[in-house]
C-alpha cells in the first residue's frame, strides 16, 4: 500500500516558496507526495524552476508526486515546459 509521506497545500501567493519547502521535505519522505495546488491561479518562472527541481529530486528518491487541483492554465505551463509527464494529476 502506498504511503502518503507528505500532503502539502500550496499557497497561491507563495507558490515557489512552498514548492521549495516541499522539496526539502522529500529528504525524509518516501512513497507518495501530494501537493494541493487548488489555490494556485498562476505560476511564475520561479515556481516553474521549483517544480522542475522538485521533480528531479523526486526522481532521485523514486517518490511519486501527485499534483492535486491544478487549473488548466497552470497545467498548460507544465505541458509547455515538458514537466507534466513527471507528475501524476488528480482533481
Amino acid at each position: 500500500m502506498t504511503t502518503i509521506a507528505v500532503w502539502l497545500k500550496v499557497d497561491g501567493e507563495r507558490v515557489a516558496h512552498d514548492l521549495r519547502a516541499a522539496c526539502e521535505r522529500l529528504h525524509s519522505a518516501d512513497g507518495e507526495v501530494v501537493l494541493d495546488l487548488s489555490e494556485v491561479r498562476r505560476i511564475d518562472p520561479g515556481a516553474v524552476h521549483a517544480i522542475d527541481k522538485l521533480a528531479t529530486r523526486a526522481d532521485e528518491k523514486a517518490i511519486k508526486i501527485v499534483l492535486r487541483g491544478v487549473n488548466v492554465a497552470v497545467y498548460k505551463v507544465l505541458k509547455l515546459m515538458k514537466l507534466a509527464p513527471r507528475f501524476t494529476f488528480v482533481s
Partner: protein, 876 residues
C-alpha cells in the same frame, strides 16, 4: 551561413541554451496572462522606450556610425509611440475577433519563443518595436542583433525587459545575445524550442531563416523605384523624396533608390532638387560615385557607404560638393549591371532616369523593381488615378506609396493608414512569407472556433397551382398573345389538346408543337425552340407527362436565354446552392410556362428538374434549377382518367419513390416532410384503387394530387439513391422510369434504414434519422410495429405488397435480362448511378460496391432481399 549544424564549444552551447531556456520558461508562464496584464506591461514599456529614445539612438550612432541621431530618435519614438497607438486597443489575448453571423470566433494563442534578428541600419528602433509586439502577444524573444550593433541592441533589450518585468512580465521574457557569430544564429535557428524566426536584415540572414526549417518571417532588401509622372505636384514630390531619402541617411530599406521622371518635367524636377540642397552629378561624377559606392564584383552597395552623409560619400568618391549637400543625384540610362547605380543604395544617393513616355517610365520602374526590389516598396507621384492604378498593377511591391515619402510612408501610421512596422514583408517576390507590414497578427497563432452553422432552407413551388376536375379552365385567366402547346401525338389524338385550346382566351393565337412520346433529346428541344421563335410565343402550355413538361422547360430556357449551354448546366454538383454552373438570368424573350400533367407520377408540373436524354452517351442528363420550375401548374384529373393500367402503376410508384426519398433526404424539412408523409399515405390508399378501378374519379383525383404533393416535397428536399439507380438502369435497358424505381425501392429502404458505411455530410441533420423517417411513414400507414426496425420491416413488406398488387415486376431477371448481360453492364451501371446527382441528397453516402450490391439485389429480387413474406396491410 551554412546549412550544416554548427560546431560550437560546450560553453557556447550552454550559454545559448540558457538564453532559450529562460525565454521558454517565460513564454510558458506568459500564457497565463490576461489582456489587461499585457496591456499594462506594454504601456510601461512604451513609456520606458520613449524616455530612453534619445539615449538608445545615441548608442546606436556611436556603435554603428550609421545614420543621423535626430532621425534615429524619431525612429525610436515611432517604434514606441506609433506602434503603441496602433496596438493598444487590439485584442491579442483570448477571444480576439468574433463573427457571430458566421458562427466563428478567433482565439489567440502565443507562439512561444521567437528568435529575432535585427539589422544594423535600424537597430534600437527594431528592438523596441519587436519587444512591444511580443509583449502584446505574450511571446518571449531571444534577440540576435547585427554583430556591429549588438551593444546598443543589448541595452535596448535591457530597457524593455526591465520595464516589462517591473510591470509584471515574467523574468526572461526578452534575452539578447552579446557579441556573437553566425554559428550562434545557425544554432538558434534550429533550436527545438524556437517557435518562429523573425529576421529583419540582409538577404543572407533572411535566406538562412527560411532555410532553417522553422516558421519564419524574413523581410529584407528592397530597391524602390519612384515614378514622378508629369501631372505630379512637383514641389511636394521633391520635398517628400528629400525628406525620405535623407531620413537617417537613407538607411530604411523602403527608401527611394531610382527616380524615373517624365521628360516633360524632368528638368524642372531636378532644378527643384538642386534648389533644395541636392547635388546633380555630371557624367564624370556619376562614374566616380558608381565606382566608389558599388562593389564591382557583386554589383551591390559597399557596406562602408551605408548610412553616410552625402558630403562624406562625395568625398569618398573623389569629388567636391557644397557643404550641407543633402543628396547626390546621378543620371542613369538604364537598369542592371551595366548601370551600377540602379541597385539599392542605403545612403543619400539617388539614380535618376529621364522617361520618354509613361510606358517607358513604367518599364524602367519594373526593371528597378526586378533588380533586387521585388515585393518591397514602390513610390509614385501623380495626380492621374489611371497612372497610379497602372503603376500599382505593374509593381510587385507589398507597399505602393502614393504621393508621399517612401521610407516614412512604408513605416505606416504617419503618411498613411498602413500598420506601423519596422519589418516590411516582401512576399514571394522577395522570398518572404508575407507582403504585410509585419504586425501583431504575425506574432500570434489564431485559433478559429467554428460553431456548427446551418444554411437556411427553402420551400419553393410554382406561384399558382390549380387542381381538381376542370382546373384547366384557369387558362382563361392567363392572358397570352401567342401560346405554343407542347404535347405528344397520342394526347393530341385523345382530344386533350383541343380541351386546352378551348380554354385559352379568345384573342390568343394557339400553335401546337408535337414532340415524340419519349424523354426529350436535344434535337427535339431545338425544333421546339424554333416553333417558339416563329410564333413569338409569350406562353408555353406543356400538356403531357414528365417527358413533355421537361421538354417544355428546356425549350423555355433556350428560348429565353439562347446562350445557355446545356452541357455546362448539366455539370455535376454537390450542393444545389454552391454549384459552379449558373443558369442564365439574362433573357431575350419572356414566356410563361403552364404545365398540365397528364400522368400522376413525375410531378414535373411543380419541379425545378428536367431530364434530357443524351443519345450520344445513351444516358439521361438531369438539369436542376428553380428557374426551370413552371410558372403555373394545373393538376386536372380529367387528363388522367384514361391512363392505362401499366402507366398508372409505373407513375404511381414513381410518386411514392419521390415521397419516400424526400422524407429521408438530407434536405428534408418540416415543410417537405408534411408533403412527403401526406403523399405516401395517399399513394398507399388510392394507387391500388386507381389501378384496379380506373374510372374511380376520387382515386384518380387523389393520385393526381398525391403525385403533385410528392413532387413539392422532392422539389425542395430532392430525391436519393433510388433515383440514381433507376436513372442508370432505365437508360441502359430501356425500362420505364417508374418501373425501374419500383425494382429498387424495397432494397433502397432497407439500405437507407441500416447503419451507413459512410454518412453523408449534412449540417441540417442532427442525427441519422432515415430509419426513424421510414418508421414515421409506417406509422402514417398504421402498419404497427414497436421498434423502428419492426416498422421499417413492415414498410418494406407493405411496399412489396403494393408492388405485387400492381403486378409490377419484382426482379430485373423477370424482365428477361440475362445474368451475363447484367453483369457485363454492371461497370457502366455503377458509373452512371454514381455520376447521377440524385444520390447527393441521400442520407447514406453510397459506395461504389454498395451501388453494385443494390443493383444485384434488384436483379435477384425479393429472394435476395430476404424480405418478409407479404402480409395483410392496413392502409390509412
Amino acid at each position: 551561413m551554412t546549412d550544416a549544424v554548427p560546431r560550437l564549444s560546450e560553453e557556447r552551447i550552454a550559454y545559448l541554451e540558457s538564453l532559450v531556456s529562460r525565454a521558454r520558461s517565460a513564454a510558458a508562464v506568459f500564457t497565463q496572462y490576461t489582456q489587461e496584464d499585457v496591456d499594462r506591461i506594454a504601456h510601461a514599456m512604451v513609456l520606458a522606450g520613449l524616455e530612453k529614445a534619445e539615449y538608445l539612438a545615441r548608442l546606436a550612432i556611436e556603435e554603428t556610425g550609421i545614420g543621423v541621431l535626430e532621425d534615429k530618435v524619431l525612429k525610436n519614438m515611432v517604434a514606441t509611440e506609433f506602434v503603441y497607438h496602433y496596438a493598444k486597443d487590439k485584442r491579442t489575448v483570448g477571444v480576439v475577433r468574433e463573427y457571430p453571423e458566421r458562427g466563428l470566433v478567433e482565439v489567440a494563442e502565443p507562439i512561444g519563443v521567437i528568435l529575432s534578428l535585427t539589422p544594423i541600419t535600424n537597430p534600437t528602433s527594431t528592438v523596441l518595436f519587436k519587444c512591444i509586439m511580443a509583449i502584446k502577444t505574450r511571446n518571449a524573444v531571444v534577440f540576435s542583433p547585427h554583430p556591429n550593433a549588438w551593444k546598443c541592441c543589448f541595452e535596448a533589450v535591457r530597457v524593455m525587459h526591465d520595464a516589462a518585468v517591473k510591470a509584471g512580465a515574467p523574468e526572461g521574457v526578452f534575452t539578447c545575445l552579446e557579441s556573437h557569430t553566425l554559428k550562434d544564429n545557425c544554432y538558434l535557428m534550429r533550436h527545438k524550442d524556437v517557435g518562429l524566426i523573425d529576421a529583419t536584415g540582409g538577404p543572407g540572414v533572411v535566406r538562412a531563416a527560411y532555410s532553417s526549417g522553422k516558421p519564419a518571417l524574413g523581410v529584407g532588401a528592397g530597391n524602390t523605384p519612384v515614378y514622378i509622372e508629369k501631372t505630379a505636384d512637383l514641389d511636394m514630390a521633391v520635398v517628400d523624396i528629400l525628406t525620405s531619402k535623407t531620413f537617417d541617411n537613407g538607411t530604411i530599406c523602403a527608401s527611394e533608390q531610382t527616380l524615373v521622371i517624365d521628360e516633360q518635367v524632368y528638368d524642372a524636377v531636378l532644378e527643384k532638387f538642386a534648389e533644395m540642397g541636392a547635388h546633380l552629378c555630371n557624367q564624370e561624377e556619376a562614374e566616380l560615385l558608381a565606382r566608389c559606392v558599388i562593389d564591382p564584383k557583386t554589383g551591390s552597395m559597399q557596406p562602408a557607404a551605408i548610412g553616410r552623409k552625402a558630403t562624406d560619400i562625395a568625398g569618398m568618391a573623389g569629388f567636391d560638393v557644397p557643404p550641407g549637400t543633402k543628396l547626390l543625384i546621378a543620371p542613369i540610362q538604364g537598369v542592371g549591371r551595366a548601370h551600377p547605380l540602379s541597385v539599392e543604395k542605403l545612403f543619400p544617393v539617388l539614380a535618376v532616369y529621364r522617361a520618354r513616355s509613361a510606358d517607358d517610365a513604367l518599364r524602367v520602374c519594373v526593371d528597378v523593381n526586378h533588380s533586387g526590389g521585388l515585393g518591397h516598396t514602390a513610390v509614385v507621384f501623380s495626380r492621374n488615378d489611371r497612372i497610379i492604378e497602372r503603376f500599382a498593377e505593374a509593381m510587385n511591391a507589398g507597399r505602393v506609396i502614393v504621393n508621399s515619402p517612401g521610407a516614412i510612408g512604408a513605416l505606416g501610421g504617419v503618411y498613411n493608414d498602413m500598420v506601423p512596422s519596422f519589418s516590411f514583408g516582401c512576399g514571394t517576390g522577395g522570398g518572404n512569407s508575407t507582403t504585410d507590414n509585419v504586425n501583431l497578427n504575425h506574432y500570434l497563432n489564431i485559433k478559429r472556433v467554428a460553431r456548427r452553422t446551418q444554411a437556411h432552407m427553402w420551400f419553393r413551388i410554382p406561384n399558382q397551382i390549380y387542381f381538381d376536375f376542370n382546373a384547366v379552365e384557369e387558362l382563361r385567366q392567363l392572358r397570352s398573345r401567342s401560346t405554343v402547346i407542347v404535347t405528344n401525338a397520342a394526347l393530341e389524338q385523345m382530344g386533350h389538346t383541343a380541351v386546352v385550346r378551348r380554354c385559352l382566351p379568345g384573342n390568343t393565337q394557339a400553335h401546337v408543337c408535337i414532340i415524340p412520346d419519349a424523354e426529350p433529346e436535344a434535337a427535339v428541344i431545338l425544333r421546339g425552340v424554333e416553333t417558339l421563335k416563329t410564333s413569338v410565343a409569350d406562353q408555353i402550355v406543356a400538356l403531357g407527362g414528365g417527358s413533355v413538361i421537361d421538354a417544355a422547360k428546356i425549350m423555355k430556357l433556350l428560348y429565353q436565354s439562347p446562350q445557355a449551354d446545356l452541357q455546362e448546366l448539366a455539370a455535376p454538383f454537390l450542393d444545389f446552392r454552391k454549384r459552379v454552373a449558373q443558369f442564365p438570368t439574362e433573357k431575350v424573350q419572356e414566356a410563361r410556362l403552364v404545365a398540365i400533367s397528364t400522368t400522376s407520377g413525375t410531378g414535373s408540373e411543380v419541379t425545378p428538374f428536367a431530364v434530357l436524354y443524351d443519345k450520344a452517351r445513351g444516358r439521361k442528363v438531369t438539369l436542376a434549377d428553380y428557374s426551370l420550375t413552371p410558372d403555373v401548374a394545373i393538376v386536372d384529373p380529367q387528363f388522367v382518367m384514361s391512363m392505362p393500367k401499366g402507366l398508372t402503376a409505373d407513375t404511381g410508384i414513381d410518386a411514392l419513390t419521390h415521397a419516400l426519398e424526400a422524407a429521408v433526404s438530407i434536405y428534408a424539412s418540416p415543410y417537405t416532410d408534411s408533403n412527403a408523409m401526406q403523399a405516401i399515405a395517399m399513394v398507399f390508399k388510392y394507387l391500388p384503387i386507381a389501378y384496379e378501378c380506373p374510372a374511380d374519379q376520387e382515386a384518380r383525383s387523389m393520385m393526381h394530387n398525391a403525385a403533385c404533393i410528392a413532387a413539392m416535397a422532392f422539389s425542395n428536399a430532392s430525391v436519393g439513391v433510388n433515383h440514381a439507380l433507376a436513372h442508370a438502369f432505365g437508360a441502359r435497358f430501356g425500362v420505364a422510369h417508374g418501373r425501374a424505381n419500383a425494382l429498387m425501392l424495397p432494397f433502397v429502404i432497407r439500405y437507407n434504414a441500416g447503419v451507413p458505411t459512410k454518412f453523408m455530410p449534412s449540417p441540417n441533420q442532427r442525427a441519422y434519422v432515415a430509419h426513424k423517417k421510414y418508421a414515421e411513414a409506417a406509422d402514417a400507414l398504421r402498419l404497427g410495429g414497436r421498434t423502428s426496425e419492426e416498422k421499417v420491416n413492415r414498410l418494406v413488406a407493405a411496399t412489396e405488397q403494393l408492388l405485387d398488387r400492381l403486378h409490377m415486376p419484382r426482379s430485373i431477371a423477370e424482365l428477361g435480362i440475362s445474368v451475363q448481360d447484367f453483369e457485363a453492364a454492371m461497370p457502366e451501371l455503377v458509373k452512371a448511378a454514381y455520376e447521377d446527382p440524385s444520390w447527393k441528397s441521400n442520407p447514406r453516402m453510397p459506395l461504389l460496391n454498395e451501388l453494385a450490391e443494390l443493383f444485384w439485389s434488384a436483379y435477384h429480387g425479393r429472394a435476395a432481399a430476404g424480405s418478409a413474406a407479404p402480409r395483410e396491410l392496413q392502409t390509412a
